[in-house]
């Protein structure tokens, strides 16, 4: 009956998001606004350099890249960790502890529900704009299928990572700085600012050792056909590897976190 409980939290997360219409409207417009900013920024870079492709991306391809990145952003820019930290700080974590489910199920499902709606609300106009203006389409049917799988794993990867970092807030009463660092690192090393192909090859080797490119860059490059076939499958394998690592770390850290919470008096 785990599924029924999970779904209850997913629904609650959605309801909470829909409680404020201004917030919903903001989600709708903010992604379009970001896209317009990136459009003019890169437009001027391309015309300044006078080149039609930069590191293998022409202007339309790069815009398609950013659209997909923003689309995925709905899961990356989560404030799940901040919420958990607030619950620990004011002691209201005990409310969820007094409910018949694990805290991970409670918070992850709740956040998943909200993120799913955010993706729908801010992702839909982005994808429509992408298809109309920037020839956004998957490289092939296989790319579409593989990138969908990769995207699903990326969501799991992002959520487990955020949950793992939020465990640190059991020790750090104020979590704000960690969240800021997490967002910046994930976004930068994940290829959110510029595609990873734009970095020098030494950097790219370092990036390959880190989990962050699998949050964003991997599903996007599979979709656009920059990574194909067995390479795509091995990238997905790496994603799954990192999900397992994060999950094991959570399992390891969680009992210690609960003991710490208990020692502080709740």
């Amino acid at each position: 009956m785990i599924r029924r409980k999970t779904f209850a939290y997913v629904k609650l997360g959605m309801q909470k998001l829909l409680a404020y219409k201004f917030e919903v409207a903001t989600f709708f417009f903010i992604s379009i606004l970001s896209l317009i900013i990136y459009y003019y920024l890169w437009h001027s870079i391309y015309s300044f350099t006078g080149q039609s492709t930069i590191n293998g991306f022409d202007f339309t391809q790069l815009m398609a890249y950013y659209i997909l990145i923003f689309f995925e952003g709905g899961f990356i820019w989560t404030n799940l960790d901040q919420r958990i930290s607030d619950l620990i700080r004011d002691g209201t974590l005990i409310i969820d502890l007094a409910r018949p489910t694990t805290l991970m199920n409670a918070y992850v499902s709740d956040e998943f529900g909200a993120d799913l709606l955010v993706i729908l609300i801010q992702g839909t106009p982005l994808l429509v704009a992408g298809v109309i203006f920037f020839h956004l389409s998957p490289a092939s049917l296989l790319s579409l299928v593989l990138s969908a799988i990769s995207f699903a794993v990326a969501v799991a990867l992002s959520i487990t990572f955020v949950f793992l970092t939020s465990i640190s807030s059991f020790w750090l009463t104020r979590y704000h700085a960690v969240r800021y660092a997490r967002n910046t690192i994930t976004w930068f090393f994940g290829g959110g600012i510029v595609p990873i192909a734009f970095f020098p090859s030494v950097w790219q080797k370092v990036f390959a050792l880190l989990p962050f490119q699998h949050f964003i860059y991997t599903p996007v490059s599979i979709f656009l056909g920059y990574v194909q076939g067995w390479n795509a499958l091995s990238m997905i394998g790496m994603q799954i590897f990192w999900v397992i690592i994060f999950y094991l770390l959570i399992k390891l850290a969680w009992p210690k976190a609960m003991a710490k919470f208990s020692a502080a008096g709740g």
């Binding site: 629904k11 909470k16 005990i94 007094a98 018949p100 003991a259 208990s262 008096g265």
Partner: protein, 324 residues
């Protein structure tokens, strides 16, 4: 049959403290001072099925800590708890399915941005309550507490008392056998308090639900609890019937209205609480002095307009226990 059994329960926590000022704030970045707070120092307690147990004690006495341990949300340092046949913190998920909790007015389980009904339906799924039972209970509870229309307004728009009533409903929707209420009436107006008390009383009678509640409001205790447990500084200082407690403290209060100011009152076994132009208030320890003698003394020395003799307020008794 005892449904909760607590043996030699101990719990302490570590807190930080620092002096006032910016410099001290910087200092505390490097070196922090710890302080160990012993919240529970070996508590033994038994709760019978169908009871309404009142847990009282001054702020910081350990009441909330005890409730948290009994709910399974905090681990104790040592000692054992068996509640409904479970170890609360080890079998937490299975155990909490059978209990209901209200953690006071500052820790509401209702979702702040949503109407209470949304949380109710969420809880229905979470506790797997059958639809028919859920509907019946919800409308019955709402009727008892008079909150039918409230549950459709966002929680943030409700007053404290209204929210507390909605919180009570939320804690009871899955028909728990055991319910913990941490200060369910604090900050609530008199009429709402009355409603909340009647509600608890009725649920206890009709559904045989066991309640453990903490409060600072002695009217809650007098209305609801046959048995009370007084906690002070992490120890249980009294555990027994409320009526016994009243008997044990044999002080009587005499409020005397005077026509004119008399000489200062002085008598063996009596304590003057207040004396002025027209009023004399005495506490008589009936173990040492009979009311009869006091009255004779009063009549012979004062011009009396009126006398009221009463039992001491339960609050006074509790204060005496705290001081011990």
């Amino acid at each position: 049959m005892a449904i909760v059994e607590v043996k030699n329960l101990k719990k302490s926590f570590k807190t930080y403290h620092r002096e006032a000022g910016l410099l001290e704030a910087f200092k505390s970045l490097v070196a922090r001072k710890h302080k160990i707070v012993h919240a529970l120092k070996g508590v033994d307690l038994k709760v019978e099925k169908g009871e309404i147990l009142g847990l009282i004690g001054p702020n910081g006495a350990g009441k909330s800590t005890l409730i948290k341990v009994l709910c399974g949300v905090l681990y104790p340092d040592s000692g054992s708890v068996t509640s409904l046949g479970f170890n609360p913190w080890e079998d937490r998920i299975k155990y909490v399915q059978n209990i209901g909790v209200v953690f006071g007015p500052h820790k509401s389980q209702l979702t702040w941005d949503l109407p209470a009904v949304d949380t109710y339906y969420f809880l229905k799924e979470l506790y797997e309550v059958p639809s028919k039972e859920f509907g019946k209970r919800l409308s019955y509870f709402a009727k008892l507490l008079g909150v039918k229309d409230l549950s459709k307004r966002p929680i943030r728009n409700l007053s404290l008392g209204e929210r507390m009533k909605c919180d009570l409903i939320a804690a009871l929707l899955h028909n728990p056998k055991l319910v913990f209420l941490d200060e369910p009436t604090v900050g609530v107006d008199l009429i709402s308090k009355e409603k909340i008390r009647d509600f608890i009383f009725k649920i206890n009678k009709e559904l045989k639900t066991t309640f453990i509640l903490t409060t600072h409001d002695m009217s809650d205790i007098e209305k609801l609890c046959k048995r009370i447990v007084v906690i002070n500084e992490g120890n249980i200082v009294y555990d027994g019937l409320l009526s016994k407690l009243k008997e044990k403290y044999k002080e009587k209060h005499l409020a005397v209205k005077l026509a004119e100011k008399g000489r200062p009152f002085k008598l063996e076994g009596c304590k003057v609480l207040r004396q002025d132009e027209s009023f004399l208030n005495i506490e008589v320890n009936t173990a040492r002095q009979s009311i009869n003698t006091v009255m004779q003394n009063l009549i012979s020395h004062y011009d009396i307009l009126d006398v009221t003799i009463s039992d001491p307020e339960i609050e006074e008794i509790i204060k005496k226990i705290y001081r011990k």
